[in-house]
Amino acid sequence: MTVDELLQPMLNTTVPLRPTDSRETIPAWDSLAQINIVAAIEDAVGVELSTAEVLSLKSVAKVVEVARSHGLELTINAS
């Protein structure tokens, strides 16, 4: 799965996402989007994320890191 496949629908964008993208650079990354991102990762990895993990999901790089720690590889669009 790519980062774009997971996150673009939640962030209401078709622009390829970069690791440095965060709640600051993407206006649609609001608290509702945050809940959807948490739920999408939980659905994909089959476990509940801890409160600390939820709090750490502030950038695309962090999403990739948390997903990877649960065995889900999210590839970043090369372009």
Partner: protein, 615 residues
């Protein structure tokens, strides 16, 4: 750690240390064969010989209108989680009403401390219509089990209520009926809990509530129901078991009394020594609101009488500053009876608290976000219950559902009532229990119908011969075509027996095959489904067959008993019906009865309908 290792550990020592090892393995998620092996060991005789077992054992009896035997393994494991060893008795299938009324029944012989009464688990299979009147009838019937049991039992009665089902005859319009299925369940349950509350005789075992928390497959629509008439899913059985274990702990006086709390990342988010008082997460949005809820939960426990204490590695002045300066704190400094805010070993601190509060270590529960501290406390003080979670949301969930502090608030009136039940006068009056049992059976308004050679019953009779193991004199199995053949054969008779009472229509539950040899009748097969046993239906059925034999001109009716692995309960049946033995070994016996049969084989509480015969 495998079940084998844990069993070896428990065999060597049944104390707290072994219990904790077992609990940890269970928490870690044991697979089914392993947990089953552990459950079987815990239910076995071996562990009961241990001296440390007796002090923490609890005797539980379960009686239901169907079968809750898939509750047995979860219950023994959930009891273990609460530091108890369960010694269980499960009444035979559907024998609830008889077991509660007979002082010599297996239930009473078990000498239970806690009885789980589940009179309504099969309700959706047997009820014919739901309306306010039928709800009242169901309540009366269920409650009669409580009053019957209470006559000979002083212990704790848990009355399980109705589990709603997805089966709604009118679909989304069901709520417009008076009463539709969901409202019917609610009405019955509301009336039952009201009775429990007002009389103080029983506690509601709220299966309705727990079913809402369990799984995605509705009770009644899962494999266990169809394969074994077990009304509950494993999920629901587990939740019920945990709830029963909480009642047992309360009953035995094992409820915990003191909650020991860490501070940083437990009562608030963050570390006061690093983040400063203003930087801590408490109140407001996520995740501070989790800590707020956690504090509310702790506050509620405190109001219920749970002693609170703080054991934290911190600078004491920093800690109190949070209480003084953060208005979002629900808990106040004065809510805590004791505190140990220092840099010492926490196990040492807790031991000191126990001494000062004059409580045993088995009265303590610990909440601490640090898993190293948790592991150490568990290792050093195995009597202490340590919340296994460190995440605030998980800690909140654990605290809200752990049931570690729950007690049975017994008022003086309750105690007095219990005494009056123990009164000798009451006992001697009820010693003549048989008349009460008969009264009960008479109140069922039982009707038995016997038919002969009915082509409509071929399938059912064949099925009964194939499935019935317990009440089956000869255990001969027949296919449908074999049954059909005998119905058409003039020297055979195929009888069936149906039964209904005020509450339920059981349908065809008995079958008998008779061969006519030289004018005399020979009972080749006689069987009865176990769910109606003990009410005299089997005698009424045999009596009717004997009458028919007499009318047909037979001088004698013969039968035999062939022992199988499961039919020992029928070995004296013919004798109790007035038959004489012609030859008897342990595994095989032949019997006869001279006709006409003596009157009175049919119990007086059963009405027999005229025989229906197709040939």
């Amino acid at each position: 750690m495998t079940a084998k290792d844990i069993i070896a550990q428990l065999e060597a020592d049944a104390g707290w240390r072994s219990l904790r090892i077992a609990q940890k393995a269970l928490r870690g998620g044991m697979n089914r064969p392993e947990s089953l092996a552990l459950a079987r060991f815990l239910s076995g005789e071996q562990i009961r010989s241990r001296a440390d077992f007796a002090a923490r054992s609890v005797r539980v009896a379960v009686a239901s209108d169907t079968s809750l035997d898939n509750l047995a393994d979860p219950l023994v494991l959930r009891l273990l989680e609460r530091g108890m060893f369960g010694v269980q008795y499960h009444s035979p299938f559907a024998q609830l009403a008889l077991e509660t009324r007979n002082p010599a029944s297996g239930l009473f012989q078990h000498k239970p401390e806690v009885v789980v009464l589940a009179p309504l688990t099969g309700i959706w299979q047997r009820i014919t219509g739901t309306n306010p009147d039928s709800a009242t009838h169901i309540v009366e019937e269920a409650w009669s089990q409580v009053t019957a049991l209470r006559k000979n039992f002083d212990g704790l009665i848990l009355l399980q209520n109705v589990v709603p089902v997805e089966n709604r005859p009118h679909g989304i319009l069901e709520s417009r009926r008076n009463l539709g299925h969901p409202d019917f369940a609610r009405a019955v349950n509301l009336q039952l809990s009201q009775r429990c509350r007002e009389t103080g005789e029983a506690f509601t075992l709220d299966a309705e509530l727990l079913a809402g928390q369990s799984g995605t497959i509705w009770p009644g629509l899962h494999k266990q129901q169809f394969m074994a008439s077990r009304p509950f899913t494993d999920d629901l059985a587990n939740l019920l078991a945990a709830e029963i274990a909480a009642f047992c702990a309360a009953r035995k006086g094992f409820a915990r009394k003191c909650l020991v709390l860490d501070l940083d990342n437990t009562l608030w988010g963050g570390v006061v020594g690093e983040d400063g008082v203003a930087g801590l997460q408490i109140g407001g949005g996520f995740p501070g609101n989790i800590y707020t809820e956690l504090q509310k939960e702790i506050c509620a426990l405190h109001k219920r009488g749970v002693t609170l204490a703080i054991v934290s590695k911190n600078n004491e002045p920093d800690a109190w500053e949070v209480f003084n300066q953060r208005p979002e704190m629900i808990l106040k400094r004065t809510d805590f009876s004791m505190h140990r805010i220092n840099w010492q070993d926490k196990a040492f601190n807790i031991r000191e608290l126990a001494k000062e509060l004059n409580l045993g270590l088995d009265a303590f529960v610990i909440l601490d976000d640090n898993h190293v501290e948790r592991d150490w406390i568990e290792e050093a003080l195995p009597e202490v219950d340590v919340c296994p979670a460190g995440d605030p949301l998980e800690m909140l969930r654990w605290l809200a559902t752990c049931r570690r502090f729950d007690t049975l608030a017994i008022t003086r009136e309750d105690a007095l009532r219990a005494k009056s039940y123990a009164a000798a006068e009451e006992r001697s009056r009820l010693a003549t229990q048989s008349s009460n049992l008969e009264e009960y059976l008479a109140s069922l308004e039982m009707q038995v119908e016997v038919g002969c050679n009915s082509s409509t019953q071929i399938a059912r009779v064949a099925q009964l011969t194939q499935k019935t193991n317990q009440f089956n004199l000869t255990t001969r199995r027949y296919t449908e075509s074999e049954i059909q053949e005998r119905m058409q054969n003039p020297s055979w008779r195929v009888f069936w027996c149906a039964c209904r009472d005020r509450f339920a229509d059981e349908g065809v539950i008995g079958a008998a095959l008779v061969e006519i040899k030289d004018g005399d009748w020979f009972i080749d097969t006689f069987l009865m489904s176990c769910r109606v046993l003990g009410r005299g239906v089997e005698k009424a059925f045999l009596g009717t067959i004997c009458d028919q034999a007499g009318k047909s001109g037979a001088k004698v009716i013969r039968s035999e008993f062939i022992r199988s692995a499961k039919n020992s309960q029928t070995e004296n049946f013919l004798e109790t019906c007035g038959f004489t033995a012609d030859g008897r070994t342990v595994d095989f016996s032949k019997w006869h009865l001279v006709l006409p049969a003596p009157v009175g084989l049919t119990p007086k509480w059963i009405a027999i309908q005229p025989l229906k015969s197709e040939t």
